[in-house]
Symmetry: C2
Subunit: 181 residues, 2 copies
């Protein structure tokens, strides 16, 4: 089937507070204004819709990431640009999601939002770092739970001192470079 | 956003062996040949992708149906015609899925593939009815597990003595009638 545009999954991986959702929303807005089909697969909505009952153990995180990857591929298959601002802390699971896209011929790009932990904790958008510091929550990625850095992301963005528009532009440039926008 | 076509979810509910998947595949083929974006959400692939570990208790069936409904709506939102040949035995859960579509302004049609139990068991496509009769499996919908018939489906098809093309045509007529094809 010929489509006006090919779909793709852009997975924005990185720590809580790194800027994943903010960048995803800005990219989505730009692409929608150009008439593209865009979906932002928001972590919280997905946890309710797909993964109610799962927690934050390695096994549960992996199951959740695989499900989100499954849904993203289904959408990408039909010409949707799917932005996924989900931490996805484990390299092997991210690799599985990429492989599932490759197997179906769907494009998958990994964007590492590499804002350092100190800056994420300083912003503390959801107040989670201070809760983790106070011992009120555990299994906080980057604090007392692992985050495995991507070693070959398609794009790496450190948002320290960079505004949202500039970060979003890097992602849009990547899409253009890969003939996806 | 203007799209060439609106998406929709067509849920084909009915007993095992009623003809749900066969009809869904025939409708999908016709719509694809007209250039539509079509997805058949196959029950077995979805159980692997979304619901590994869930069984066939009422609670697990309901969770699975809700997840499939969530994914179907995401696709329908982006102009895809989503065919869902999944038993979905409980009326209240089917209603929930419809309501979730309504809440997002996505079209949802219920097709009741109403082939009677006797005919389904005679066909026994997957050999499940004979296994149930032999006591080798339990929780078989229509045998020792409930199936709540839809009371107001958008379409009712009894495939007894009806060929696949005719059944598929009824579904395509429904789409035309609702301005979705």
């Amino acid at each position: 089937m010929t489509r006006a545009h090919e779909g793709a999954t852009l997975w924005l991986t990185g720590l809580s507070g790194a800027g994943k959702t903010t960048i995803a929303d800005a990219v989505a807005q730009r692409l929608r204004s150009e008439g593209r089909e865009v979906e932002v697969l928001d972590g919280d909505e997905l946890r309710r819709g797909l993964s109610a009952g799962l927690g934050f153990s390695r096994e549960d995180r992996d199951t959740h990431v695989r499900r989100v990857g499954f849904v993203a591929e289904l959408l990408a298959r039909h010409g949707v640009v799917v932005l996924v601002p989900v931490i996805a802390p484990y390299a092997s699971t991210r690799y599985e999601v990429r492989a599932a896209h490759d197997a179906r011929g769907s494009s998958y790009l990994e964007v590492y939002v590499a804002t350092p932990l100190g800056e994420c904790a300083r912003r503390d958008v959801k107040g989670l770092y201070s809760k983790a510091a106070a011992g009120e929550i555990t299994a906080m990625t980057g604090v007392d739970d692992p985050y495995e850095e991507p070693d070959k992301p398609d794009l790496r963005i450190d948002t320290t001192g960079m505004d949202v528009a500039a970060s979003a532009q890097h992602v849009l440039d990547l899409l253009t470079e890969r003939s996806l926008a």
